[in-house]
């Protein structure tokens, strides 16, 4: 198999790990890190496909994803900080004022 195929498989594994982390982790910061892992898995697959097909676009998309992820991280950390201030906890199980 080519190098790129391994990269695609690796990105699928990373994405899966991120999704599992999102579902099973209890600390908000860790959940947030899982999302970042998923986004970076996407970046890896964009680069791998871009190389596989000899198209430059895939690498350009990565820049878009990085920029958007940075903006999201800035807003996300602010929200998490505010929650931590008001509730004195970062455990997602404790954030339960609005129940299903």
């Amino acid at each position: 198999m080519q190098l790129e195929s391994y990269a695609v498989i690796l990105s699928a594994i990373l994405f899966g790990l991120g999704a599992l982390g999102f579902v099973f982790k209890r600390n908000i910061i860790t959940i947030f890190m899982s999302i970042e892992l998923m986004l970076n898995a996407v970046n890896l697959s964009f680069v791998a496909f871009s190389r596989m097909r000899a198209l430059l676009e895939g690498q350009v998309f990565v820049f878009f994803v990085i920029v958007v992820a940075a903006a999201e991280a800035a807003v996300g950390m602010a929200i998490i900080l505010q929650v931590a201030r008001n509730r004195q906890s970062l455990n997602i199980e404790r954030i339960d004022l609005l129940k299903l």
Binding site: V8, S11, F15, G18, A19, F22, I28, I31, F32, I35, M38, L39, A41, V42, S45, F46, A48, F49, S50, M52, R53, L55, E57, G58, F61, F64, V65, V68, A71, E72, V75, G76, A78, I79, I80, Q82, V83, N86, R87, I95, L97, L98, L100
Partner: protein, 498 residues
């Protein structure tokens, strides 16, 4: 040739003028805000409302310059302004205008009157507009994120209220999770088709390369992931669980915005991706949409039955309505797409009005949003009660309201397909309308037949809120009686899609 190229560049600017205008006003507000003295905070608020109106006016400019963006710099055919885009521009900017108008007094009362609120609404709306006219998946992603990131902040805008924090946190975590799915889907589609342009994807599917069998697997998997990501955004089962929490915790006028604009824009991109680009994969995604529509309608309506909080009840009803729209979408015909668009407009207007009114009646800190708090509204505030009843009856689908015709078009689209599975969906829709009548009518009964609370009565409706009520109630009745103009518009949007 050079002059011609420059001219086309200018064309693009005019074509996208509503989006550029909204962003321009947003930036202007952010720049002006620090220099405005505290006592004159209403200046930036007015600037926001003017910005929304200016963008709305630019939609008419944009309508004069329809077409694909020039395939050179700077917009490299990423965006297409067609009838669907114009319809959506008009819708989302009107929603933004109404939401801002409805927020003026709310923010004043809660002591949250800051310029950035209006800037964020404008940025969010610009993102929705980008989503509605995107012709390429990464562009759609950027639009989606511009609108989502602004929405996360707006959801948590009551910074010191724990419920608002929680709403923002849940929206942020689940929204980003959904975005990651959408993006991974886009990456796989890029791998399968070698492009993320919707038109190129369509071509590849229609004329597959026989040497590359694996491509179609990647495309199917990618489209499934994109569907998951968008299902989160439009809040359809099984990805709807965030909706009630986010809607309940967010400031009420913001909830009105969430229930209208982002949903409309997400449905627009859903139509573009699955009706246009992946149209030939219909057999593959039909069952996913079928199951999702059925599940969404029942889960939304059954959960709404037991709610005592009006905000939460309306959130569940939003879920149910997304299910109704999916029924029309599943029909996969021009008539179906037209029904989707008509219903979005009818539904969003009503939700905006209802949430705006609720934002006013909720009183400081949103303490009074239970159904019982509306008791006797018919006697103390006849106008407000009349509007609220109209909204609820339109959501229920009573004749002479827009909701009735919306449901009629959906049923017609589903039955015209002569397909047993679509017919079953249509029957489920009818059953659900009956279920929903119970909880809508309960609110109407409380408003008119219960005694008002002795110790408390809501303040009179301020002028901006009354204006929003008029701007939403009148079109609801107008669309219910004379739907022709909008009907022609949505049919044309649907027919120019392919």
């Amino acid at each position: 040739m050079q002059a011609g190229a420059n001219l086309t560049g200018m064309e693009d600017v005019l074509r996208l003028s509503p989006i550029l205008m909204a962003c321009g006003f947003g930036i202007l507000i952010m720049l002006v805000d620090p220099f405005v003295p505290r006592a004159r905070r209403s200046l930036t608020a007015n600037l926001g409302v003017v910005g929304a109106l200016a963008s709305l006016a630019c939609v008419f400019v944009s309508a004069q310059h329809m077409g694909r963006s020039y395939s050179g710099l700077p917009y490299t055919s990423l965006i297409q302004v067609d009838d669907l885009s114009i319809f959506m521009f008009f819708a989302v900017f009107s929603f933004a205008f109404l939401a801002m108008l409805g927020s003026l007094d709310y923010l004043e009362r809660e002591g949250l009157q800051h310029g950035e609120y209006y800037a964020l609404v404008l940025f969010a709306t610009a993102g929705m507009a980008v989503m509605a006219c995107a012709q390429e998946l990464v562009t759609a992603f950027v639009g989606l994120e511009v609108s989502s990131i602004s929405s996360y902040i707006l959801a948590g805008y009551r910074r010191n209220a724990p419920k608002s924090n929680e709403s923002a946190l849940k929206y942020f975590l689940l929204g980003s999770f959904a975005t990651a799915f959408f993006l991974y889907g886009a990456a796989l589609i890029f791998g399968g088709a070698g492009s993320t342009q919707l038109e190129a994807i369509r071509e590849i599917i229609l004329h597959p390369n026989p040497l590359r069998q694996k491509e179609s697997d990647l495309l199917v998997l990618g489209s499934a992931l994109v569907l998951v990501g968008l299902s989160f955004k439009v809040a359809t089962a099984p990805f709807q669980f965030w909706t009630p929490d986010v809607y309940e915790g967010a400031p009420t006028p913001v909830t009105g915005l969430f229930a209208s604009g982002p949903k409309a824009a997400a449905f627009a991109i859903l139509v573009r991706v699955f009706y246009s680009a992946f149209g030939s994969y219909r057999d593959t995604w039909f069952w996913a949409i079928w199951a999702s529509a059925a599940l969404t309608m029942f889960m939304g309506n059954l959960a709404a039955l037991v709610q005592t909080n009006v905000k939460r009840m309306l959130a569940y009803s939003s879920i149910a309505h997304a299910g109704y729209i999916l029924v029309a979408f599943a029909a996969n015909s021009q008539l179906g797409i037209a029904a989707v668009l008509f219903y979005i407009l009818a539904y969003a207007l009503v939700k905006l009005g209802a949430f705006t009114l609720l934002g006013h009646l909720g009183d400081t800190g949103e303490r009074r949003v239970e159904i019982q708090d509306l008791a006797g509204l018919g006697r103390t505030h006849p106008f407000a009660a009349l509007c609220m009843s109209l909204y609820l009856l339109s959501l229920m689908g009573l004749p002479i309201t827009a909701g009735f015709l919306g449901k009629l078009y959906i049923l017609k689209a589903a039955l015209d397909a002569q397909n047993i599975y679509l017919t079953s969906l249509a029957i489920m829709l009818a059953v659900n309308s009956v279920i929903s009548a119970y909880y809508y009518l309960r609110v109407v009964r409380v408003m008119y037949f219960s005694e008002p609370a002795a110790d408390w009565s809501p303040a009179p409706v301020p002028y901006p809120v009354a204006a929003v009520l008029l701007f939403t109630a009148l079109p609801t009745v107008y669309l219910g009686l004379f739907p022709d103009a909008v009907r022609v518009m949505v049919l044309r949007s649907a027919s120019t899609l392919r």
